[in-house]
Subunit: 202 residues, 4 copies
DNA sequence: GATGAATGAGAATTCATTCAT
DNA sequence: GATGAATGAATTCTCATTCAT
C-alpha cells in the first residue's frame, strides 16, 4: 500500500489536483477526491477547510511548481535563437510532465481567474521570465526584429504550448492519433519553435 | 413585456448559451437559465428534456453557426498570402462576434468533448476548410513551403485565435488592458497573421 | 380515423379507463390519457374537472356496467346447481370481457376504496344478487347445505373470479402460459365452478 | 429518542415497507418514508440509492421472509387432510401476521410484477412447496382425487387467502364488520379450508 | 368546443459540510 | 489524527392544472 507512503494531507492534495484538473471545480466531487485519496472525507475539511479552499490551494501549489520550473536556470550555451528554442522546449515539456497544470489553468481562465486572483494575483503564467529576458537581449543585440512585440510573442508561446495540452482530447478525435505520444509531442514542439523563431528573427 | 418577442424556446436557447458559455455545464444552474430566459423552468424541460440535452443542443447550434460562417465564401481577390490573411481574419472576427462559441468549445475540450461527441463527432473546429484549400493550393503552386504540415498549421491558427478569447480575463490581468477593445483585438490579429504568414511562405 | 367516431368526451373516458386500469390513479398520467384519447389536455378538464373526478367517474361507469350485467336475467333453465354454475360463468366472462373492471376494483380495494366510497358507497361488487337469490333458494329447498354461509361463499366466488384476472401477469410468469387464452380461461372457470359446487351441495 | 434503537437503515426499510404496502410505489412519497423512519431523506439515498431500488429491496426482503416461513417444516402429524388444513392455516396466519406482504404482492401483481421480476423472477408466491408435496402424495396414495389439477388448486388457495387480506377494506364496508378481528379471520380460514378439502378428497 | 403554451407547487435526488465518537 | 453516520440547503426534474386565443 502506498497508502501510508504519503501522509493523508499529501494524498488529499494529490487527489484533489487530479480531480480538479480533470473536471474543474464545479464538476469535481468532494467524495471522489476523498475516495481517491483513500481518506475519510472529514480529513479533507480538517486539513483544508472547504472545497473552495482546497481548490485554491491546489492552484497555489501548481503556480509555485511552475514558477520554480521557470526559474531553473537553463544552460546558456548556444546562440540566442537556440536559447529561445530551449526555453520553449523547457516550458513545453514542463507542461507535458505536469499535465494537470495546463488544465487547471485553463479551467481557471474560463472562470475569469476568480480563484487564482484571490490568492496569487501577481503570478499567473507570465512565468516565462527567462524567455522574456532572452528576447529582450536579442532585440538589443539586433539578432531579433526590432519591432518585436514581447507581449504578443509571449502570449503566442504560452497559448500554443498550453493549448496543445488542453485540447488534447479534441485533437485526438480530429487527428485520430494520440497527441501525447512522444513522437507527436515532439513534432508539435518543433512546429511551435519553428513558428516562433521564424517570426522573431530579422 | 418583450415576453413573446422571441418564442420561449428561442429565449431559453439564448439564455442557455449565455450561461453555459459563462460557467460550463457543471457551473450552470437551470434556474438561472430559466430566469434569464424569463420563462418557467418547466418550459425548459418541455422543449429540451434535460439540462444535459439542452447543453448538447446549444453545442449543436453553435457548431452549425460556425460551420455556416466557415463556408461563407470569401472574396478570392488578392494573392494566396492575402487570402490566408483574409481567412484568418474572418475566423478571428467570427469568434469576436460570437464570444460564446470559443468558450463553449473550450469547456467542452476540457471535458474531453464528451457532449459534443454525442451530437457531432465529425465537425468540431477543423472547420476551416477554405483555409485548408488555400494552403494546399499555395504549396502546389510553390508559393508556400513544400514541407508545410497542414495539420500543425491549422492547429496553430485555431489555437492562437480561439485561445485569445478564452484567455481574455487572464490577459486583462497581465496586460492591464482590455484585450477585447477594438485596438487590442486588431493588434493581436495582425500579430497572429504575421506569425502564420512568416512560417508558411518559402 | 376513429378519431371522430366517438366524441372527445367518450374518447377521454375510454382512455382514462384504460390508463387507470393499467396503472392505478397514482401511476396514471393526465398527459398519457389525453394523448391516448387524442384530445387536448384542456378538454379533459373541460369535461371532467380534475384527474380525481375523472377517476371517480370511471369507477362509477364501471360499477354501473357491472350492475347492469349482474341484473341481466339469465335463463332459469336447469336445476339450481346448473343455475349457480351459469351465474358464476356469467360473472367470470363479464370480467374476461371487461378486463379493466377487475383491475380498477383491485387498485381501488388496495387504496381502501376511498374514491369509490365517495360516490357509490352502496354498490361495490356484492353485485351478484341473482346468485345470492339462487343460493338462498337452494338452501330453502334442501338442495344446498343448510349451514351455508352466504357471505363467505359470495366472497369466495368474487375473489376467485376477479383474482384470476388481476393476477394474470404473475400467473403468466409462474405457469409460463397465457392465462387469458380461451383454453386456460375456460379451464380455470371449470375449476372454480367445481370448487364452489362441491362446497355447497349437501 | 429511540433514535438509534434500530439502525437508520433498518428504520428506513421498515418505514418503506409500511408506506409502500399502504400506497404502492407510485402513491408513496420519499419524504413520508424518511419522516416515518425519523431519518434525513439523504440517508435513504445513501443506503438504497433510489426510491425504485428501495422498493425493489423491500420486495426482496418480503419474498425472503415468505420463503423462510414456507420452508418452516410443520408437524407432520395427522392424516393428509389434516396436513393440508394445517398448511393452509400456516399460510393464512403468516399473511395475517405480515399484513404488508399480501398488499405488496397485490400492488406488484397489478403492475405486472415489473419490479419483482428484476430481483426474483423465480420465487413469487408459488412458494407453497410443502403444500404441493402433500397434495401430490395424497393423489398418489389415492386419498385425493386422481384428476386433481395442482396448478389450479394452488392458485385457488393463494388467491383465497391473500385476497381476503388485500380486500379487507372492501369487505369491511360490505360486511359492516372488521374482517381482521380474530373471530372473523378464523371463520374465513375455516371456510377456505372446508372449500378446498371438499374439492380435493375423493 | 378546441388548442398550444405556460405555470406553481411539489417530488426525487445531489452535494458540501458537520456531529458524535 | 481519524471515522461513519448524519444533515440542510440546493438542484434537477415532474405533474396536475390554467391562461390566452
Amino acid at each position: 500500500m502506498e497508502r501510508s507512503a504519503k501522509g493523508s494531507r499529501e494524498r488529499i492534495l494529490a487527489a484533489a489536483e487530479e480531480v480538479f484538473a480533470a473536471k474543474g471545480i464545479d464538476g469535481a466531487r468532494v467524495d471522489e477526491i476523498a475516495h481517491l485519496a483513500q481518506v475519510n472525507k472529514r480529513m479533507l475539511y480538517h486539513y483544508f477547510n472547504s472545497k473552495e479552499d482546497l481548490y485554491t490551494y491546489v492552484l497555489k501549489v501548481n503556480f509555485e511548481k511552475s514558477l520554480a520550473a521557470g526559474k531553473k536556470a537553463f544552460s546558456e550555451k548556444g546562440d540566442l535563437k537556440q536559447q529561445v528554442a530551449e526555453a520553449i522546449r523547457n516550458y513545453f515539456y514542463f507542461l507535458a510532465a505536469n499535465p494537470n497544470y495546463p488544465r487547471l489553468m485553463a479551467w481557471e481562465a474560463l472562470q475569469g481567474g476568480n480563484y487564482a486572483r484571490k490568492v496569487l494575483p501577481e503570478i499567473w503564467e507570465e512565468g516565462l521570465p527567462s524567455l522574456k529576458a532572452i528576447l529582450e537581449e536579442g532585440v538589443a543585440r539586433g539578432v531579433f526584429r526590432p519591432d518585436l512585440d514581447l507581449k504578443q510573442v509571449l502570449a503566442s508561446i504560452t497559448t500554443l504550448c498550453s493549448g496543445y495540452f488542453t485540447n488534447k482530447d479534441i485533437l485526438a478525435i480530429l487527428w485520430e492519433e494520440d497527441p501525447l505520444s512522444p513522437d507527436n509531442r515532439e513534432k508539435r514542439l518543433k512546429h511551435i519553435i519553428d513558428l516562433i523563431l521564424r517570426s522573431i528573427v530579422i
